[in-house]
Structure formats: C-alpha cells, structure tokens
Assembly symmetry: C2
Homo-oligomer: 348 residues x 2
C-alpha cells in the first residue's frame, strides 16, 4: 500500500487489544481505569475505552473536557493538570457542569483551591489535590497536602500523583512504589484531620502495573493505547504491541550512508528522551538512526544497512506518540477507517 | 489584558514592519523576495507579503501550495523540499497547474527529475535543482548538478540551496558565501553544457543578507516575519523586532526556585538549538530558564529572580517559531484581529 506521506497509521487490531488488556489488568487489580485522552485526542478512541469498561476519562485541559462532553463521552472527567481559574477557564467549568458532567479538577495550591471553593459553594465538582511523588513538576509534598485539601472545603475529593520519574529504563517499579507511598501518606494526614479521601489516583503507562496497591483506587495511563519507541526502549511495552506508525517516503538519498525522509518535526515532533538515540525507530532498518530533524526533513544515517531507494516508504515508530498525534488531523486505521483527531488544538 | 492561555500572540505592527523591511532590503539588493510560508502557515500573512512586493511564495509541501492556490494567493509558487511523485503528489501538481499556478518544484535526484520530465512533457512547471551548500541535508554537490539538470529536460528552470549551516552564532556570513559559491559553480557547469539557468535561489533569515551577490537572483527567508529566540540569540534579529509570543499562565509554584507555566511542548514544541539554553525566553524574567517541557507543563527555574505568583501571565519567546505556529489554529493579533493558521496540517 502506498500512503500520501507523511501520515499517522494505526493498527486497529493492536490498538483494540491494548485497550482491552489495560482494562482487564485494571479490573483484575481492583482499580478504576481512567485513560488519559491527551494521547489520542480523539472522541472515537475515548468511546472505545469507555465501552471496554473505563470508569471515566482523564484530560490535560478544560477544552479537551468540553470537546469530550460535546461529543457525548464526557460523563465523568478528570482534568489532571493544575490551572488558574481565569474567566475563560471558569466559563468552561460552568459549561461542563451545565452539561451534567461529573467533573474533577486538579489543584496543587491554596489560592486556586480557595478561589474555586468560593466560586462553587454548592459543589457540583470535585477538587483532587496533586501530590509530588518524585517528578518535581507540579504537586505538593505529602506534608503540605492537608492545608490544600482544607482550602478545597466541601469540594475536596481526593489525591492524585504522576510518577513521571518512572519513565527512564529501570525506574518504573520504584516510581510506582513512590506513587503509592506519597498518596498513602497524604491520605493518612488528611483523614487524621477528619477529611474524606474518595479518589486516590496514580499510574502512567510505565508505572500503572506497579502502583495498584492500597490505597490507590484509580490509574490514568494514556500512551498504552498506541505505544511508542520510548515505551519500548524503557521496557514498558514490546514492539509487537505498538499500534502507531508514522509512514514516510524517502525523498533524497544524497550519499551511501545517508538518506532523507519526508517526516520532519512537524509530524514526528522533536521529543527525544535522554535514553533514546535519534528521533524515532525504523523497524525495517533497526540499525538506522534519525540523526537530524528539520520541520519537513528527517536525515537518517543508514547504520551500515543498505540504503533504501528514493520513493521507498518506511515505517517510523515515534519516540513519544502524544505530540505526534497532536500534529495531525486524522489517524488512518489499517481497517481503512479514518479517525479524526477532533480534540487536537484543544490547548487551553 | 488577560489571555485564554496558552496562545500565540503576534504584534501586528512589528510583523508589518518586518515584512516591509525584508522587501526593501531585497529590492535594494536587486533580488526577488520569495518568503517561505512554512513559518506562518497563513494565507492572510502570505497576502501581506505579496502586497508588500514579494515575487512569489515558497512552500514546504504541495498541500501548502494547494492551500495558497485555493485562497487566491498561489500565482507563483516554489515547493522547496524534494518529494517523490506518488499518485497523490501528482494529483496535487495537476490541480495546481489546472488552476494556472506558475509552479516550481525542488528536485535533487535523477530518478524523480526523469519521472517528472516524462509525466509533464509539455512543460507547465519548472524543476529547480537543489544544491548542497554545506548543511548536508538534501541537495547535490555542484559537480553533480549537471546530470540532474539534464534529466529535467525542458522542465529545468534553475538551482537553489538552503544554507542551514548558517544558523549557529557567527556562521551566517560564511554560510551565505557558501550559498553563492555553490550556486555559481553549479550554474557555470550547467551553462557550460548549454543549459539555461533562470532561477538562482538562496537565503534564509540568517543568511539572506549575506548571499545576494551574483548570480543569486532570489531569496527565501521565512522566520523574519515573526522572529524567534533562535534568531535573536544567533544575532540575526534583535528582541525588538520579534513579533511573536506564546502567552502562558503560572499554574503552580511549588518552591521558591521553580514555577510551572501552562505552555508545554504542545505549544512551544521541543525545538532547542544547541546554542540555546532552555525551551524559550521570558523577557520579563530574563534570568529564568525553561528547564523541562512536558506536553502541557513548562517547568521554569527562576534563575534567582523573584518567582511570579500563580495566576500571573508571562510572555515566552519561542526558540523556533515555525513549529509553534504549526501547533495552533489561530494567531491573536495585538490589534484584536484573529488570523487563522489555515495551512496548518497541510503536511503532505
């Protein structure tokens, strides 16, 4: 098959198995699965996850939540990135509540928690306090969880964390344990002061299998639905369960050790974890390395393999699938279906 | 003014001056200005460039060219990235020719040149042979220009290069000279064999001022319209003429030396030239460094400055503007106008 390159192709059967397998694992572990939609940015994929048994969905932005709600898949949503309640953000919250959405929002500081508690005195939404489990991004230390939870007032619903430090190879087990530990610590402190902690949410694609002990009752992986080279190279997934490819065409072969593909940074993105060489993996030429990435060119060294011909089409497994999906308007399924990336651009 | 962050804001007056100044410089140097639309991906901005006197437009993809043509600004287009003439690409060429477009296409190898010469025996388009001036991306060595030009047959129209090695600080003058040298060499070889070289095209934002000597008769800068931190830090532009900002809100301030903005890689992109520290420049906090970039979070170290408050909005000058514009659906002008990024997604 010849593709109009560059484009994103998804193996529908592999994707479906990934969705089912994660659901089975979560159910077996006795936790709710709340997949993160920032990976697929697609209401079609979100619906597949809910039909497989997901308890709800995780979003990165309020506008993603609005998009899900408007597509009829926004019954139970958690926006898991702290935000500041500016007028435009409050308007989205109001819209979601008016649509009957069971809405949870991330908070990690007193002022935002307090502002929301004043704005929504009658409830209707839940605030989930972010705890830092070691990635040192957003979130508070467990010892500081209680005052933030208290500032949420009646809106307080629970605690969550993201063990982002679990992504490098060999780190997932320890990071998963960190997630459980800090959430248990925060929960104990809040409960000791009389608070009620309903939601205890953790888990990314690398750590979800390693953080399902008490008191965690919900996991939020995203990447698992497609997989990517980062997850293969850190041992979280195998190449066989990667459902996504960027299809690219050789547009130039200026020397025996170098060729150029038409998949630049405007489709592969420049995401490159420290432990990954190059800007993506070529399964048909596993020794080749995407050395340089320009907006519309990927310069590949052959790594000693026989160079392809101009016009050949090659499959590239992207390093990190989330920014790749965010760069295209549609996913081409191997079944022939076209799935719109209808939440792309829902940034704010 | 409070923005619905993250978003891209463009100072309309600065942008307009950038467009005028580049046109004035090209006219004074006696070369045609053919701005690269991959930077702004906007038919509105393309029209402004043509109205200022641009001789035509440069595209990275055939679908960008189709978008320009359909918007009525596609009279004279050059697609400056080599491609393979698959059925979908040929269909776009046919569509552009049927619309009356004066179309030029990049080629850098015999097989594609030969295929196009067979497919379009009656002409109607021009093939421009890419010469490698030192960036070692696409393009042939000047000594190999003649056979590719010959394979173009009657479609051969000229030569072009991109001095991408002129981007690092201190490299622009030498790279501009390389551009002139290799184009002159290629032109001489082709003319010595009886060929007619009409187009001699060079020049990026860093090198355009340094490559306008004989025989160059056209320059193709793109970034100049907005500017970015890369161009400021390599000395090609000053901060005063940067028209673009990503507006972001402080969403978390977990410690005195760190805060988090809501402008992640899904708006700033992870583009980071080797000579630039961090993922963007904060003019209001020039010592601060965006140390880590996640999909929806930018983790900033204060660099000793007083940290901002949660809710504060800050301006970020992106490292590389092209992938940033490609991540949003619209540009907010300081005049209040909204300009659609209507060529975004035109990847293939």
């Amino acid at each position: 098959m010849t593709y109009d390159t560059p484009c994103v192709v998804v193996d529908a059967a592999v994707m479906d198995r990934n969705i089912q397998r994660a659901q089975t694992a979560a159910t077996a572990a006795g936790v709710r699965l709340r997949p993160h939609v920032k990976t697929h940015k697609s209401t079609v994929a979100a619906r597949m996850q809910l039909e497989a048994g997901a308890a709800g969905l995780t979003c990165a932005t309020l506008s993603e939540a609005v998009g899900l709600s408007e597509a009829g898949v926004g019954g139970d949503l958690f926006v898991a990135v702290p935000f500041y309640p500016s007028p435009s953000k409050l308007a989205r919250i109001d819209r979601l509540l008016a649509a009957g959405c069971d809405l949870s929002l991330a908070v990690d500081n007193l002022s935002v928690a307090g502002l929301l508690a004043i704005r929504y005195p009658s409830g209707g939404l839940r605030l989930i306090v972010e705890i830092d489990s070691g990635s040192h991004r957003t979130g508070v230390d467990p010892v500081d969880a209680l005052p933030v939870a208290a500032a949420c007032g009646d809106l307080f619903g629970g605690v969550f964390t993201h063990g982002g430090h679990g992504y490098p190879p060999g780190m997932a087990v320890a990071a998963g344990a960190d997630e459980v530990r800090v959430l248990a610590d925060a929960k104990n402190r809040i409960e000791a002061a009389g608070g009620r902690v309903v939601v205890v949410s953790a888990g990314s694609t690398p750590t979800a299998a390693h953080c399902v002990g008490e008191p965690v009752n919900e996991v939020r992986p995203g990447t698992y639905v497609f997989g990517d080279w980062q997850q293969v190279s850190n041992g979280s997934m195998t190449l066989e369960v990667v459902a996504v490819s960027v299809m690219a065409t050789v547009i130039s072969a200026p020397s025996a050790d170098r060729f150029v593909l038409d998949c630049g940074a405007k489709i592969l993105s420049k995401d490159q974890p420290a432990w990954v060489q190059g800007y993506g993996h070529l399964p048909q030429m596993p020794g080749a390395i995407i050395e340089r990435l320009y907006d519309n060119h990927a310069v590949v060294s052959t790594g000693g393999d026989r160079p392809p011909m101009v016009g050949d089409q090659l499959r590239v497994i992207p390093n990190h699938v989330c920014p790749v999906i965010n760069l295209v308007d549609q996913l081409l399924l191997t079944t022939g279906e076209v799935v719109p990336v209808d939440l792309r651009g829902h940034l704010s």
